[in-house]
Symmetry: C2
Subunit: 726 residues, 2 copies
C-alpha cells in the first residue's frame, strides 16, 4: 500500500531522473538531471537541510519542554527531516537516507513504549512526544510517510519493531487514549485521523483505516469523512477562517491523496461535490497579495507561502491540472518532492501556468451554508492585474469557535497591494520566547478579540455577546444579499443577537464613480433599537493622515485613554471633533503612493475621535495602529453612512503628486419607507445614487421620492446615475 505517491508514473511517462533504489549507490548525492527547475531547487534545499541535520547524528530526546522549548523543537525537526529523507531516498536511492530514517525510527520505537503523558501538558489534550496531542498527530502524519518510503527495504526484525512498538502504539494512543480529540469535528481530529488512517494503509491494518474514516465506533458520525462534510461549508469555507483553513488543509489533502491511491473506488476527491479541492481553492481566494485575510486569531505573517499549501497545491494540481494553480506554485517558488510536485514543476517549466483568476465570490459559512457568509468583492487594478487590485471583504460569518473574534458584520479593504482598512489578527509573536513563550498574549483577549478592535459597531462599549464564546457560537449573522451588477458589487448582512437591545444590518458596496479611476466603498450600517445607546463605529486603517476636514480638539501634550474595558483601555486618544456635514466629516490619509478619504454623514450630536492602539501595554505587546471612531449617543436607533474613496498618486521619486484631495463633494443619505437612498456628489458635479430596497427579490420594482427626485430601480440594490451624466 502506498500513502505517498511513488515515482513510477513519472518513470513511465518517459522521464528517467529517478534511479531505482537498488541501483543508485553514489556517495555524494547530486540531483539527478534533468530535473525541472522548481523541483531541482526543492531537491537541493531538502538535501542540504537533511545532510546538515544528519551530520549531527540522531537526536531523539526524552520529551520534556513545552512549545518552543528544546525537546519540542527537536521532535518537530525530526519528523520534518525524516519526511524529507524519505523523499530523498526514493528519488536518489542513496541508502544513507534510508538508514537515517530507519535508525531514527528505531530510536523512537525504543523510547515510545516508555512514555506517559508529556510532563509539560498544556491542557486536557496532552500528547506523548509533545505537550499537546495535536503535535503528536502532526508527528505521526509525517513520520508514517517517511516510514513508507523505507519499510520494504529494512529487515523483518526492524520492521517488526517499528510497526509494533512505534506506529501501532502511536495509532493506539491517538485513537484510543486520545479518543476525545480523535472523534471531534475539528482540525485537530483531522490531523489525528489522517495519521491513524495512513498508518493503517502502511501497516495494512484495515481497522485503523476504518476508524480513521468513520470514527472510533465506525458509524461515520465522526471521522475523516464526516469532517469533510461538517468542517467546510458547501463553498469550501472553514469557520475558523483561512489562517486555520490553511493549517487544516494539509492532513485533508495528504490523507485524501493516500485514500485515492489505496482505495480509488472511494472517489474521495469527488466526495461531497469535490469539497476538498473546493476548499483548497477557497483558501487561495481568501488571500490578498499572497497573505490571508486575518480573520480571528490569525498571524499576519502567514500566507500562501506555507508548507501546507506547497503540498496542497501539488495534490490539487495532480488531480485537476488547473493551470491557475501553477501560477500560485510559481509565486510560492516551492513545491514538494512527490510525484505531484514533479508534475507541478514539469508543467511550470513547460509554460503551462496561467494567472490564478482571483474573483468576486460569496462563501457561505456553516456545514449547510446557513451560518452567514463571507463576501469577497474584487476589482482588478487598472492594469488588469487581479492580485493587487481592490478587495472589499465582508465577514458576516459564524463565530469560528474558540479562536473566533467578536466582530459580527466586520469588514476589510485591500487596495494597491496593501491592507488599507485593517483587521488586527491575533496578538501573538509565534515561538518568540520573550513574548509569553510564543503563546497567545494577554492582549489577544483584552484587545484583538474585542469588538472595538474590529471594523464594526460597538454598543455601550460592550463587545458582541458580551464576549461570551458559547453564546456567540449559537448565533450566526444572516447573509441577506450578494449583488453583482453593472457598476455595483454589494453584500448585505444582519444580526439581532450580538447586542441584547440592538439589531444591526450592514450593507457594503463597491460602486464605480464617473471620473474616478477607482470604485469607492459605500458602507451603510443600520442599528435598530428602541432604547438609548452609545454607538461607536471604528475604522482601523493604515497610513498617515494628510487632511482632516473638521476642527479638532487635540490632546497634544498628555494623551488620555478612551475607556476602561473591552479593549477601550488600549486606545490612546489623539484628538476629537464634531463635524457637521459630509462636506467636512472626512479624513484623508496616504498609504504608499495612494490617498484614501474616509467620509461620513454625521448624525446630529455625533463626535469623531482620532486614536491609536497601544495604551495600557507596558510590555509593548501591541502594534500601534491608527483608527477613526464615529460616536453618537441616541435613542431609537441610527444609521452610519461611510464612504471610502481611493484617489490620486504620490510619486516621491518623480516628485509628482496628483489628486491628493478627495474628489467627492458630499454624501447624502435618506431613509424612505425602509429603503436607503445614498447619493454621492463629486466636486465635478457628477453624481451617483446607491438605492437599496433591502428586498431580495431580484424582480421587484422600487420607487422612492427624495427631494422631489424619483429614484426607480429593481432588486435589492442598484446604482442610479444622474440625468445625462453617464
Amino acid at each position: 500500500m502506498s500513502v505517498r505517491s511513488i515515482y513510477a508514473a513519472v518513470l513511465l511517462a518517459g522521464s528517467s531522473i529517478f534511479a531505482p533504489a537498488e541501483v543508485a549507490q553514489a556517495q555524494n548525492v547530486e540531483a539527478p538531471s534533468p530535473m525541472p527547475a522548481l523541483f531541482a531547487s526543492e531537491f537541493e534545499m531538502s538535501r542540504d537541510l537533511v545532510d546538515e541535520v544528519m551530520a549531527d547524528g540522531i537526536i531523539v530526546p526524552v520529551p520534556k519542554d513545552p512549545g518552543g522549548g528544546y525537546t519540542h523543537e527537536q521532535h518537530k525537526l525530526n519528523f520534518r527531516v525524516m519526511y524529507l529523507a524519505g523523499d530523498l531516498y526514493r528519488i536518489t536511492g542513496d541508502e544513507k537516507y534510508r538508514d537515517f530514517v530507519r535508525d531514527m525510527l528505531v530510536e523512537y520505537a525504543e523510547m515510545y513504549p516508555t512514555l506517559g503523558d508529556h510532563p509539560a501538558r498544556a491542557n486536557q489534550n496532552v500528547g506523548r512526544l509533545f505537550w499537546q496531542v495535536l503535535n503528536d498527530a502532526m508527528w505521526l502524519v509525517h513520520s508514517i510517510q517517511a516510514y513508507e518510503s523505507i519499510r520494504d527495504t529494512i529487515t523483518d526484525e526492524q520492521r517488526d519493531l517499528i510497526d509494533n512498538q512505534l506506529f501501532r502504539k502511536a495509532a493506539h494512543f491517538m485513537s484510543v487514549d486520545s479518543k476525545r480529540t480523535f472523534n471531534l469535528i475539528h482540525n485537530h481530529a483531522t490531523w489525528a485521523t489522517a495519521g491513524v488512517g495512513m498508518t493503517g494503509y502502511v501497516l495494512g491494518d484495515q481497522h485503523l483505516v476504518d476508524i480513521a474514516l468513520k470514527g472510533s465506533d465506525k458509524t461515520g458520525e465522526t471521522g475523516f469523512l464526516r469532517q469533510t462534510e461538517l468542517l467546510f461549508s458547501p463553498d469550501g469555507y472553514y469557520a475558523e477562517g483561512p489562517y486555520y483553513q490553511r493549517f487544516a488543509l494539509l492532513p485533508f489533502m495528504v490523507f485524501a491523496n493516500a485514500i485515492n491511491a489505496n482505495e480509488p473506488e472511494r472517489e474521495i476527491f469527488q466526495h461531497r461535490d469535490g469539497i476538498l479541492l473546493k476548499a483548497l481553492r477557497t483558501t487561495i481566494e481568501l488571500s490578498y497579495a499572497g497573505q490571508f485575510f486575518p480573520f480571528n486569531d490569525a498571524l499576519k505573517e502567514k500566507g500562501l507561502k506555507t508548507a501546507e499549501l506547497y503540498e496542497g497545491i501539488a495534490v490539487a494540481y495532480a488531480e485537476t491540472r488547473d493551470p491557475g494553480l501553477l501560477s500560485i506554485a510559481e509565486w510560492q517558488g516551492r513545491t514538494v518532492l512527490s510525484e505531484a510536485g514533479m508534475l507541478v514543476a514539469s508543467d511550470l517549466a513547460a509554460g503551462k501556468a496561467k494567472p490564478f483568476p482571483f474573483k468576486s465570490m460569496l462563501l457561505r459559512d456553516g456545514p449547510e451554508g446557513k451560518q452567514g457568509a463571507v463576501a469577497i468583492m474584487r476589482t482588478p487594478s487598472p492594469d488588469g492585474e487581479s492580485m493587487h487590485g481592490q478587495a472589499l471583504v465582508t465577514k458576516n460569518s459564524s463565530q469560528g469557535m474558540g479562536h473566533g473574534h467578536f466582530d459580527k458584520l466586520s469588514w476589510q479593504f485591500y487596495d494597491n497591494g496593501y491592507e488599507v482598512v485593517t483587521d488586527y489578527g491575533a496578538a501573538r509573536f509565534l515561538n518568540i520566547e520573550a513574548k509569553e513563550g510564543g503563546r497567545y498574549l494577554p492582549e489577544n483577549e483584552s484587545w484583538a478579540k474585542q469588538t472595538i478592535a474590529h471594523n464594526t459597531l460597538v454598543v455601550d462599549e460592550q463587545s458582541n455577546f458580551n464576549g461570551d464564546v458559547e453564546l456567540a457560537s449559537a448565533h450566526a449573522p444572516t447573509q441577506d444579499a450578494y449583488v453583482q451588477r453593472e457598476g455595483l458589487q454589494l453584500s448585505s448582512g444582519s444580526i439581532d443577537t450580538a447586542f441584547a437591545d440592538v439589531a444591526m444590518t450592514r450593507t457594503m458596496a463597491l460602486v464605480e464613480m464617473p471620473g474616478s479611476e477607482h470604485p469607492v466603498v459605500v458602507d451603510l450600517l443600520r442599528a435598530a433599537s428602541d432604547g438609548e445607546h452609545q454607538y461607536d463605529l471604528p475604522l482601523h486603517y493604515m497610513g498617515q493622515i494628510m487632511r482632516v476636514g473638521f476642527e479638532l480638539e487635540s490632546f497634544t501634550d498628555t494623551r488620555p485613554v478612551l475607556g476602561k474595558d473591552n479593549g477601550y483601555q488600549h486606545i490612546w486618544v489623539d484628538a476629537q471633533g464634531a463635524p457637521t456635514s459630509s462636506g467636512n466629516a472626512f479624513i484623508t490619509w496616504l498609504l504608499d503612493d495612494r490617498f484614501y478619504t474616509a467620509r461620513w454623514v454625521p448624525q446630529e450630536g455625533a463626535e469623531a475621535i482620532l486614536a491609536e492602539s497601544g495604551a495600557n501595554d507596558a510590555s509593548f505587546n501591541l502594534r500601534r495602529e491608527p483608527m477613526l471612531l464615529q460616536r453618537v449617543r441616541i435613542a431609537g436607533g441610527t444609521s452610519f453612512v461611510t464612504l471610502l474613496e481611493p484617489h490620486g498618486k504620490f510619486d516621491g521619486s518623480a516628485e509628482r503628486t496628483t489628486l491628493s484631495d478627495s474628489l467627492v463633494a458630499s454624501v447624502n443619505h435618506d431613509r424612505v419607507d425602509g429603503a436607503d437612498i445614498i447619493t454621492i456628489t463629486m466636486k465635478n458635479g457628477a453624481r451617483r445614487t446607491l438605492a437599496i430596497s433591502h428586498n431580495p427579490d431580484d424582480a421587484a420594482s422600487h420607487s422612492v421620492i427624495v427631494d422631489e427626485t424619483e429614484y426607480r430601480w429593481t432588486g435589492f440594490a442598484a446604482v442610479i446615475g444622474a440625468e445625462g451624466d453617464k
Copy 2:
C-alpha cells in the same frame, strides 16, 4: 554645436535603428527595431507620455501659481515633454514631435518678453516662469536641449524668434537679472550656469559659455568650473548630503557632457582628478538598498530611481564603461533616450553588467577634505550580497548649509535590507497640498533638524550650536581615525564647539564576534566637561520591542511629554527605568525577520527612557517612531558605551524562531590613561576586547592593564581575542 549627444556614433558603430530626420515620415510612430530592451521600454514610455500630452494641444499658461499649483505644474510638464519630444524627433524623425517642440517654444517666445517677476515669489530669488529662479533654470536646462534637437530644421524666422525672444532673454534673466544666484557656489547656480552655458553652445554665443564656466566677471572665482572645485570634497562628497547631491548631479553631468562634446580640449571629465565621475559614484555609494542615507533635509522616498541618476549613469557609463554602473541601470530599470542611454541599454543586453561593488569607505567633507567626513562601514550579508548587508554610517561632516541638521557625530545602521538605527530625514510631504502646500513643515524645524531627533548627544536639552546655522557652518567636526583591519572597521570623530562647555569624541566600530553570524556595532561616546550637565543619548530605531532587560515604570494610561523645546516637545514618554549593569541594560526588538539588542553600560545614577515621536503634533505631520534615551546628569564628563547586536531569525511562515534573545552576557568599559578598553563577553563565554588608544599613529604600541589583564595592541584601535578563543 551640440549639447545633447547625437546618434552619429551609434550609426557609425553599425546600428541602423535611427532613421535620419529627413527620411522618416511615418504617421504612427513605432520604435525602430531592433532596440535593446531597456531603450525600447524607455522609448515607448516616452512616446506614450508625449503623445498623450500632445493630444491636449499646446498649453503655455501665464505664470501665476506657486509650487504645486496649476501653472507651476504645467510649465514643469512642458519642459519635460519638450525634452522628450526632442529625443523622439531625433530617434524617429517624425515631424510631429519637431512641430510640437517648435510650436511650444514659439508660444513661450511670444510670452516670455512680457513677463516680470513671478507673482507668487517665494523669496528673493524670484523666477519668471516659476516662483523661484531655480525652477526657471531647470526649465532652461531641459528646453535648450529640446531646442537643439530641432533648431536646424525650422525656418529662419522661427529660429530668430526663439533664439532672441526666448533663449537669449532667458539666459539674460538667469545671468544678469538673477546674477546673485548665478554667481553662488551652490547647486542652484549649477542649474543656472548649466542652462546659460548650454544656451551659449546652441546659439553659438561664446560669451554665454564663458560666463557659465567662469562666472559673470569671467575670472573663474565663480561659475561652473569653480563649482566643481568647491561643491564637492576631493572624495566627491557634497556637503548637503546625498539627497541634494543627486539633485545637483544632473546639471553637472549634462553640462559636462555638453562641454565635452563642444570643447573636448577642456577635458572636463578629467578636471580636478575626475571629480564629476567620482561624485556620481559617491552618490551611489551613499545609499542602501537603493535609498539614499537620509542626511539633513532629505526625503526618504528618494533613492537611485530618479531621473537625475538615469541621466547621470548614462553619461558616466559612456565615459567610463564601468560594468558596475550597468547593474545600477538594470536595477533602476530606466535609462535616457540619448546616445549614452543607448550604449547602456546595448551593453546591458549584451550581458556586460557586473554587481556594483558597494564597499567601506571614508568620504572626506569640505573642498579640501578638511571639514570632517562621512564613514561608511559595510559587511556583506551572509550570502555575500553587498546591497543588503550591514552598513554602519557615521556622519562627522560639516553642517551642509541651510538644509543641514544639528546632528554632529550622528550615526545610522542598516542591516538585512532595512534602516535599523534611523535618521528621520526631513519633515515634509513633497507636493502634497494638504501638508503646508508640500513645503517643509513647521516640524522640520521643531523636530527633524533638532539634535534630539538624531542619534547623537544632547546636552542640557539644547541642540548643537543652539540651533544657529551660521555658527554651525563655521565649525565642522574632525575625523580622527578610519580603521580597516581584520575583524574590525572603525571610525572616530570629535568636535568641541557643538556645545559651549562640552567636548565630544565618538568612536564607532563594527566588530566581528566569535559564534555570531553578524558583526556587532560598538559605540563609545565620550563627553568631556568640567561643569555639571544633563546628557541625553537617543537611539532611534525601527521595530517592535520584544524584551526589556530592566524594570520599567510605565505610563500606560496617560502619556506625558518629555520636554518643552528643541524637539523634546514632540516626544511621548512610554516608560522609564534605571538599569544597573550591562547585564540588564538592554532592549531587544524585532524588525522583519531579525532581532536586535541594544545594550549599554549604565553610568551611576543613569536613567533609560522608552519613548516615541508624535507629541504636540495636532496636524499629524510626524511619523511616529520609537526611541531609547540614555540619560544621566553628572559633573566632569562621562562616557556612553553602547552595543548593537543583530541576532536570530523569526520565520513566521515556517513558524521557526531562533536566537530571539541576545547572545551577549555583558559589556565592560574601562578608561585607563586616555585609552578605552571595551570588553564584550558572550553567554557562551567567548570574549572580545576593543582597545582604543585614540592615537592615530599606526605604528605606536600600546599596553594597558585592566583587572590584572594586560591588553597590548598597535595603532588607533584593535580587537583582542581572549586567550585561546580565536
